[in-house]
């Protein structure tokens, strides 16, 4: 056998011995995830195509997580939630995390992991481009549109062109001030925003395997910013440990064969990595943080599926502890679980929440918030010419609201260090 993990997972789900990159195969779907922005459209197409009384192919395999536009007075956005509720009731779907109830979770990609829907070896499609995040669990996960999602709802299948794989290896150990965000910005800067189009980004090497599940998710999350179809990291003890705490469903573990074919291979020395930013208006507009220290900022933002997990806030709190921020700083936990952790996790006897409040940060409710701009009253949304340094994943024009604002993407360490000084700042300055 000479297949990559991705090829093995797709072959198994296409009920074939072997698949080749470039081949189109129909795969059986294990999980379909949708949210409040694309769910209503998906449901609409499903009914139009399969009939008003149609039932979904498998009610236990559908996961619906409202997270994008939920704390808003926008009536259209709220109507979307009503459509989801009605569909969930009609189809009797067990995995729905309704807003305004105890079941509410927050940003779908982290919620999938925390609620045990990410399992090694499975195939997961989601109506959100950052569905590639789940590849951190050694599974095949990718984003699709409403039509494809509606097709899955009715049939449990979808066609996939088997992607070629690109292998990124990091040997040795990362310096303490380097986070997964620096690594993904480095790699996207190297390959460009279309460098992995139609392909898999496979991460490996001792430095990568030392990352926690949250850091692995950050790495896989932004594969789409390199154009990637999916990202994948082999499941190991770190994965098994995380999954065990979330679900007892059985799963299959796949490894890439030593003689598997790769479209591209690159090995980096982990110790050489430096803090990176992506300058406006593209995630591949790479620069060293230390070369951007003349950039004055108006705001810093820590949140989203990329940079709003517990690990991200622990990093930020380490730097903000006992100090005051110099610019407006927005803290948005990705999920309710992270929000709770902010109360419970302590640093020097203080909760992370208290550290953030004492340093003068604004704290929002668990959701996507201003990561994608959104309705006018969205927490942290830009409205003018703000210069923002952010832990999110996209800095396209207007992504955080205003077309005139400028967004620099960076790690939580860099964002926190910059919040303290009011200009882009290398976190190493705060690391002794």
């Amino acid at each position: 056998m000479d297949m990559t993990i991705t090829e093995k997972i797709l072959a198994a789900h296409a009920r074939k011995e072997k698949v080749q990159p470039g081949e189109n195969v129909w795969v059986d779907v294990d999980v379909l995830m949708t949210h409040d922005v694309c769910g209503p459209g998906t449901i609409g197409i499903f009914k139009e195509q399969f009939g008003k009384g149609a039932k979904v192919w498998d009610r236990k395999k559908v996961v619906i997580i409202p997270d994008h536009y939920i704390f808003t007075s926008d009536t259209h956005a709220n109507r979307n939630i009503d459509i989801l509720r009605e569909f969930v009731a009609e189809q009797d779907l067990p995995h729905y995390y309704d807003v305004g109830t105890e079941d509410y979770k927050g940003v779908c990609h982290l919620a999938l992991a925390q609620e045990g829907h990410n399992r090694p070896g499975e195939v997961l499609f989601g109506t959100d481009s950052h569905t590639c995040t789940s590849g951190a669990f050694g599974m095949f996960a990718t984003g699709i549109g409403n039509t494809d999602a509606a097709f899955i709802l009715g049939t449990g299948k979808l066609w996939v062109k088997v992607p070629e794989s690109m292998r990124f290896e990091f040997t040795g150990e990362f310096p303490s001030y380097i986070m997964a965000k620096d690594i993904i910005l480095q790699v996207i800067g190297d390959i460009g925003v279309d460098g992995a189009t139609y392909r898999t980004m496979e991460w490996t090497g001792s430095a990568i395997m030392k990352f926690s599940m949250e850091e692995r998710m950050t790495l896989c999350n932004m594969a789409i910013e390199g154009g990637g179809k999916n990202a994948v990291i082999e499941a190991d003890d770190t994965t098994f440990e995380y999954v065990k705490r979330r679900t007892d469903r059985p799963y299959t573990v796949y490894h890439s064969d030593p003689d598997a074919n790769y479209f591209f291979k690159k090995t980096y020395n982990a110790a050489d990595m430096e803090p990176i930013v992506a300058k406006p208006h593209s995630p591949d507009n790479k620069a060293l943080v230390k070369d951007c220290t003349d950039v004055k900022i108006d705001r810093s933002y820590i949140g989203s599926c990329t940079g709003g997990k517990l690990t991200d806030f622990l990093a930020a709190a380490k730097l903000l502890n006992g100090k005051k921020v110099a610019v407006d700083t927005f803290i948005v936990p990705a999920t309710v679980e992270v929000e709770k952790d902010l109360q419970q996790e302590k640093l020097d006897g203080k909760s992370l929440m208290d550290i953030f409040k004492n340093s003068g940060c604004h704290i929002g409710d668990a959701s996507c918030a201003a990561c994608l701009g959104g309705p006018q009253d969205t927490f942290g949304r830009t409205h003018g010419t703000e210069v923002v340094v952010s832990t999110t994943n996209r800095n396209f024009p207007g992504r955080m609201g205003s077309k005139q604002s400028e967004v620099y993407l960076a790690s939580p360490y860099t964002v926190a260090a910059s919040a303290l000084t009011g200009h882009i700042t290398d976190p190493r300055e705060f690391f002794q």
């Binding site: 922005v37 694309c38 195509q49 536009y69 481009s129 039509t147 279309d194 207007g398 992504r399």
Partner: protein, 194 residues
């Protein structure tokens, strides 16, 4: 499927992302309600910075104030067209605004899939970047079967990259029709009752 697509060109640059095609704040309208759906046409390409809107000069309005349909029918783009989010609203809003085809050097994967599987528009790939030799407002003609692109204003014709097996889905109309015609969906699953 039309064999010949004709109309005026609207030219854009590289890396036109889905936030530029349809800004996130507009993703709330219903796509099933024929009236409300028009909003997507109205705001199509409204996120493109003015200087890049309608190259080479920029500043060309894609959909005029108060309208939901554009005077342009074909978009000519550079590389990585449609990158960013998975929102199907992106190809949908272009279709609602009257766009029948996009001709670009390369595409982001999800936009490409959505365009074809949903039957919104035909995403043609070119052998080279045509944004330098096409001006917004040029009269274009595309022969879908022959996969050729003609700029009637300049008189130049180019052969585009082959659509490959994707043409089957385009011919059928969308992924559902394709699946029905090729027997992938059983008759019991095709109760497309009105």
């Amino acid at each position: 499927m039309k064999h010949i697509i004709e109309g005026k060109a609207y030219v854009l640059g590289d890396d036109i992302d889905t936030d530029q095609i349809i800004p996130a704040e507009h993703l709330v309208y219903s796509l099933s309600d024929p009236e409300e759906k028009k909003n997507y046409g109205k705001f199509a390409l409204s996120g493109v910075p003015t200087e890049n809107a309608g190259l080479p000069d920029g500043g060309k309005v894609f959909v005029s104030e108060g309208k939901h349909e554009s005077e342009y029918s074909i978009i000519v783009g550079g590389k990585n067209f449609g990158c960013g989010s998975s929102r199907e609203h992106a190809p949908a809003c272009l279709q609602i605004a009257g766009i029948q085809a996009v001709v670009a050097e390369s595409y982001a994967r999800i936009f490409y899939r959505n365009s074809v599987d949903g039957g919104f528009l035909i995403p043609f790939e070119t052998q080279s970047n045509l944004t330098n030799e096409t001006k917004t407002g040029d009269e274009l003609s595309i022969d879908v079967e022959k996969e050729t692109f003609t700029n009637k204003t300049t008189g130049k014709t180019h052969t585009m990259k082959s659509l490959g097996e994707i043409i089957e889905i385009i011919r059928a109309g969308n992924i559902f029709e394709y699946a029905r015609q090729s027997g992938l969906i059983q008759p019991s699953e095709t109760l497309n009752s009105p």
